[in-house]
């Protein structure tokens, strides 16, 4: 009985914690993630700019830095190809 009660109490505690996080921090965390994403995409553009007709960096440095941009290429491509509407941009 007491185990059941403590299970319910734990669940309630967890729910309150998550709701508090959702209210206080989730949009801030998402905002920070977006800021990081924009910077990463800028970095990707610098590295791959040569291939896109924007020779920003000399190929030597692009190749040296290429491994660092590989993890974000998928999300960059995804975002690059996704048509964005003005109603997509609430909260930045």
């Amino acid at each position: 009985m007491s185990e059941k009660r403590s299970g319910v109490f734990d669940k309630l505690k967890d729910a309150v914690k998550q709701v508090t996080y959702g209210m206080a921090l989730h949009s801030q965390v998402t905002g920070v993630l977006k800021t990081r994403m924009y910077i990463e995409h800028l970095f990707t553009l610098m590295i791959l700019g040569d291939m896109l007709g924007l020779p920003i960096l000399p190929p030597y440095y692009s190749l040296r830095l290429l491994p660092y941009t590989i993890p974000s290429i998928k999300s960059w491509k995804h975002r690059f190809y996704r048509e964005r509407d003005f109603t997509d941009i609430i909260y930045g």
């Binding site: 709701v19 959702g22 209210m23 993630l33 995804h78 003005f86 109603t87 930045g92």
Partner: protein, 579 residues
């Protein structure tokens, strides 16, 4: 003391109705119409990018959705609705909570989830047509102007009457810069930073209350407290520009985070104060019903009541959040009800508790600065009594200021993007420039603020806000019709809201038109402008509101016609139900 004559009754009956809405009606709609399938992948899983599309637990998303939709609407709207007495306001809040408010938030969320997480613009494009998307773009521009106008008005008036709130606001800004630096640059522990920020805020409230300078009304034209013709507009606009132009982590991110704590405490305090009213002896001081006629400024009960309470009953802003953000983070379809409907019913509760704060004061003129006084009367008996009252009224005034400022800084950024979209690549592309657009976004609303007629600005804002909700409800109905599913639960409220809001906007245009052509003052406050700049200035300001209202009305009517066309097309189309 009769218990039925206390705010307790309003809140208790309301909560019972909300429980019925959540566990009864919304559950039935969820099961019978949308039929959520926990195995069907949501956009959060289909397009995971870890930034916009990623699955989030239902409790987190519920908290986020509530925080994003909560603003000044449910706090101030009930005050205007009191023109007709507390009973119509109460009935509309619970009626909307049961049948309309959550319907919009939840259905818009589900519509987007079933359509690859698309936001309002692309959904309007696909379900109604390209013209609808363009109209929506224009409509949103004016909508943002009116939100900013209504909120800047509130902040200016509240700060003028409660100067303590300005100094507390400065503490919030300082705490935000410090917090942002400590979190993002120093990478200090979040709990320690939060404790520091809250301590700064408490100091801000104490310092603000003790240093309440200058006296109310000393920075306004004519020296009348509570007037919008005030120099406080200058620091407010500067702060908003900073918020709109600085990088997010510098000011907005930490400010919204810190502001959350006093806001949530205020909401809980109001609810507890209302529920404890039989013990504290606080009674309803406003008559239950004052008649259907209203005033010349407000117009009759229909349509004015239905656009006054805004987010506390139904709000178009919520559909932008549901489709633009939450639908992309929904983990499983079965979470749509707790997130969409649950968050909206919580917002309805904020509307109800705010109504409780308004009704405990004897009838006075409707003005934003009345709310902190009512809230103080409701809460002070359970939080320190008379000795604590000055601090409590500072607290509730900053509650209003924080609610407005945090939304306006985000709107400022959004407005900028919409301006760039509208004017980019045209001969007026300068208007899409980051700085020019930001300045326009906060300076143009001042033209509305200077009308000095609070009720009319609010009803304009409420009209456009609820009209957007009517669009969202009808777009959902178009989709359901296409899918051969029952749509009347969304269509009937949608049509009702569109007709009502268009009537409200038309009436407000009429009011401003009469005031312009007959050189009439809409509110005694306009005397200040008349004395300072002559009746011509009053007419010019009122005329500006006529022009904006006419544009909004035309956009609304055309959109309404397009929606009706889309509905008849959808009825005729034979599409297999989505599986």
């Amino acid at each position: 003391m009769a218990i039925h004559n206390t705010p307790f009754t309003l809140v208790a009956v309301g909560l019972l109705i909300y429980a019925l809405a959540y566990w009864g009606y919304s559950k039935a709609i969820d099961r019978k119409i949308w039929q959520p399938d926990p195995a069907r992948p949501t956009p959060a899983h289909m397009y995971t990018d870890g930034v916009e599309f990623f699955p989030v637990g239902r409790y987190v998303l519920y908290g986020f959705q509530f925080n994003s939709i909560a603003a000044l609407g449910p706090i101030l709207g009930p005050g205007i609705a009191l023109i007709f007495g507390w009973l119509p306001a109460f009935l509309w809040i619970i009626f909307a909570a049961l049948l309309i408010g959550w319907v919009q938030d939840y259905s818009a969320l589900f519509l987007s989830v079933r359509n690859e997480g698309k936001s309002f613009g692309p959904l309007a494009y696909e379900l109604i047509g390209p013209t609808a998307r363009k109209l929506l773009l224009g409509f949103l521009l004016f909508y943002f102007l009116l939100i900013n106008a209504a909120f800047i008005y509130v902040v200016a008036v509240v700060i003028d009457v409660f100067p303590s709130s300005f100094w507390t606001l400065l503490f919030l800004v300082a705490a935000s810069f410090i917090t942002g630096h400590l979190i993002f640059n120093v990478r200090m522990n979040i709990l320690a930073v939060t404790a520091l920020a809250i301590a700064l805020l408490v100091v801000g409230i104490i310092v603000g209350t003790l240093f309440a300078w200058p006296p109310p009304g000393s920075l306004t034209l004519g020296g009348k407290p509570g007037s919008p013709y005030t120099l406080w507009l200058v620091p407010i606009v500067i702060l908003l520009l900073l918020g709109a132009l600085l990088p997010l982590p510098r000011l907005i991110t930490p400010m919204n985070y810190i502001a959350y704590y006093p806001v949530i405490v205020a909401i809980i305090a109001l609810a507890v104060g209302a529920l404890a009213s039989p013990l504290t002896g606080i009674e309803l001081a406003v008559p239950a019903f004052k008649g259907f006629e209203g005033t010349f400024s407000s117009g009759p009960l229909w349509p004015a009541l239905f656009v006054s309470i805004a987010c506390g009953a139904i709000s178009g802003w919520h559909s932008l959040i549901s489709t633009g953000i939450s639908s992309r983070q929904l983990d499983v379809e079965t979470d749509a009800r707790p997130v969409g409907a649950g968050a909206m019913l919580t917002e309805n509760t904020v509307g109800l508790t705010s109504l409780a704060a308004w009704v405990v004061l004897a009838p006075v003129s409707v003005s934003p600065d009345t709310f902190p006084q009512g809230a103080t009367k409701l809460v002070a008996p359970i939080a320190g009594g008379e000795a604590a009252a000055p601090f409590i009224s500072t607290f509730f005034s900053i509650y209003m200021v924080f609610m407005a400022i945090t939304i306006m800084t985000i709107l400022g950024r959004y407005w900028r993007v919409v301006m760039a979209e509208v004017f980019g690549g045209t001969s007026l592309s300068i208007l899409g420039n980051k700085y020019v657009a930001s300045v326009l976004g906060f300076v143009l609303p001042i033209a509305f603020v200077l009308t000095g007629s609070w009720i009319n600005i609010w009803l304009y804002f409420g009209g456009t806000n609820q009209l957007l909700a009517g669009f969202a409800l009808t777009i959902v109905a178009v989709y359901l019709l296409q899918q051969r599913k029952p749509s009347s639960y969304s269509l009937i409220p949608g049509i009702f809201m569109m007709i009502t809001t268009l009537a409200a906007i038309a009436y407000q245009v009429y009011v401003f038109f009469v005031a312009t052509t007959q050189a009439m003052l809409l509110h005694p406050t306009q005397n200040i402008l008349k004395e300072a700049a002559g009746i011509g200035a009053v007419q010019a300001i009122n005329g500006f509101s006529v022009v904006v209202g006419v544009i909004m009305f035309i956009l609304g009517i055309v959109m309404f016609a397009l929606l009706l066309k889309a509905l008849s097309r959808a009825k005729a189309a034979a599409v297999k139900p989505a599986q």
